[in-house]
Assembly symmetry: C2
Homo-oligomer: 345 residues x 2
DNA sequence: TAAACATTTTGAACGATTTCAGATGGGCGC
DNA sequence: GCGCCCATCTGAAATCGTTCAAAATGTTTA
């Protein structure tokens, strides 16, 4: 196996003790210029690299943060992860990544592994964890920030988007264009974000005095395949909806493919809006409307919060701390009046 | 600060020694049923979680793999990272993630940190590291697999795509459609993948007997902004190219936006092909042709290779091991004969 | 009684930091 | 010149939470 060079070797090469070497490397305590030079030379010669695990073991922190997200295929999460990684690296933290595929068992395992690796903090997109798992986490007293989704019971810090408000605004945009029969394709409401968006949709419909047709609401997996299936189902309704609200970008590709396959034109035959903006929405033909959320802001906020918790600079923070990141409604050409109203619109 | 419960506490609670506790937890050596039960009970009571850092320190491995990639914004890398993460988790490894932003200094720092965290192996999308950094890495004897790009000098394992062949095939597809004035928009050739693609393009042109017009070749950053700039420049040439080969998906959005902004129709005014397929290429209007590379295969291959190196099951592997992952040319409606030939095609 | 066996404890690693006690030498008052 | 204090420098030893080899303690069996 591979043999690492440690303080011992360096000390021997520099003809001094490991304590002195440590002092040189950390600029702590007294050390003569002469030995300092000898040590530095030895370090260079031997290509010595301090073992951060041993260091952390002694100092009782790891300078490591665990990030738990469903996957790295959704632009929604990758943009977040990218920004979080960047910010944490700037602060000298290393990122331990785990993806859960939205499965509780994998999530449990990931959480345990990260705790075991002694992370200083956790950033977590939770699924719908059970009480036992939560108790286990609480008992470890690891600073934890939930993002994107919240955990029922609310003992954990959470930074989420304005799901309810954003979904409501999106729905109202469709209503304003004259649509009354609106299809909703979303993710499983066991996750708080999906639930809140769904509720936002329902609320907007209710306020507009439109009885919600259960048939027009489709809740399923956050995957392209689900989008295709749900879109197919909605299109076969009589009459089909004149507008679609797709509640997650992960679902979008399937929806678009299905519409194209049916030869349906946007927005002539059907209007479209999506929760969360993607780069290609803007230069798609037609450009697609979206509830644009700022991943940068969320990343910034969660890193800032987590660091304060870790460093104990959180006397003035509520426990737990909750925050919503605002959105922007980006209206593009994918929304038009419904077909039968087109002449009057 | 937070106080973790260790073997010591568990041993005390179970009224035995830490060694016995350790043996219970690892199912190793002799231990009576009686004490086993007492220990398990204590573990449950105290919510004990073994400290993997201390464990690894003693056992001389960390069950941790470092992944160094430019960023998590490019679907190119995220698909890879997702698959790699999945495979490694299945093998019980944790992933330490670092993004370099393609900057050597950040890369150097990331590499040092990962070495310091005592990773068992490294998966690395290298930029263009200097000799000193490489020597430092070599001296640590950490199993390392470069992916997507290779390192000059070639002492490291590498698994890359068929950049040269793929680029050549893409160019030939355009040539076959009748194009002779083809624009090339690519990334900085200091990275091996960009260099090879560029060479593949040049070779195809040369074999077709077409003198390469330097003006039609644009090499820059792997970013959307660069795509916009380069496309603008190429369009203002007299005459402008009748086809474009975009050598990275990261560049694509800028190119498309620019074409749309100029009111240029694909493929009527200009044909288009891109290296690396993205999901929206298939349902874009028109669908965009691409050199489709299999990230799944690359991920699979690199994890497999790395694990063999780590476990020392690599007697029959060349040193270094090099491999190319094959591609598939996906021709879609974005390619048509050049404008002046359109009637004859 | 010794050998064989099961079970447990002890103590030394692992690779760092940190505390503490000592060594050395200079300055200062007497 | 002597004693004393202080600043500077050093190395031995404890510590972090584990594993592991060896020794110790019982308990049977030959």
């Amino acid at each position: 196996m591979r043999k690492r060079v440690g303080l011992r070797e360096v000390a021997k090469a520099a003809q001094t003790s490991i304590a002195t070497v440590s002092r040189v490397l950390n600029n702590t305590g007294y050390v003569s210029e002469e030995s300092r030079q000898r040590v530095l030379e030895a370090v260079r010669q031997l290509n010595y690299q301090p073992n951060l695990r041993a260091k952390g073991l002694r100092q009782r922190y790891s300078r490591t943060i665990g990030l738990i997200i469903p996957n790295l295929l959704n632009a929604y999460y990758t943009a977040l992860a990218d920004q979080i990684s960047l910010l944490l690296h700037q602060e000298g933290f290393q990122l331990l990544l785990s993806s859960t595929r939205d499965e509780v068992e994998i999530e449990r395992n990931a959480l345990q592994k990260l705790i075991g690796h002694d992370v200083d903090g956790l950033i977590w997109v939770p699924t719908a964890p059970d009480e036992q798992l939560l108790e286990h986490l609480y008992s470890q007293h690891i600073p934890t920030v939930c993002i994107v989704r919240q955990v029922r019971g609310g003992r954990l810090d959470a930074i989420v988007f304005e799901d309810f408000k954003g979904a409501k605004a999106a729905t109202q945009a469709l209503l304003k264009a004259g649509h009354r029969r609106i299809g909703y394709i979303g993710g499983d409401v066991c996750y708080s974000s999906n639930y809140d968006r769904w509720q936002g949709f329902l609320q907007a419909m209710q306020e507009a005095g439109i009885p919600t047709d259960e048939c027009c609401v489709r809740l399923g997996a956050l995957r392209s395949e689900w989008g295709a299936k749900a879109a197919n189902e909605l299109l076969s309704l009589k009459p089909p909806p004149t507008a679609l609200f797709v509640a997650s970008n992960a679902i979008m590709p399937g929806v678009i493919k299905t519409l194209r396959a049916h030869g349906i034109e946007i927005p002539r035959h059907i209007s479209l809006i999506c929760f969360d903006d993607l780069d290609w929405f803007s230069f798609s033909q037609p450009p697609i409307s979206a509830v644009a959320t700022s991943h940068t802001h969320l990343a910034q906020a969660c890193v800032e919060l987590l660091l304060r918790r870790i460093h104990g600079e959180d006397e003035d923070l509520p426990q737990p701390y909750l925050r919503q990141i605002s959105f922007e409604l980006v209206l593009r050409a994918s929304i038009a009046p419904p077909p039968q109203n087109q002449n009057t619109g």
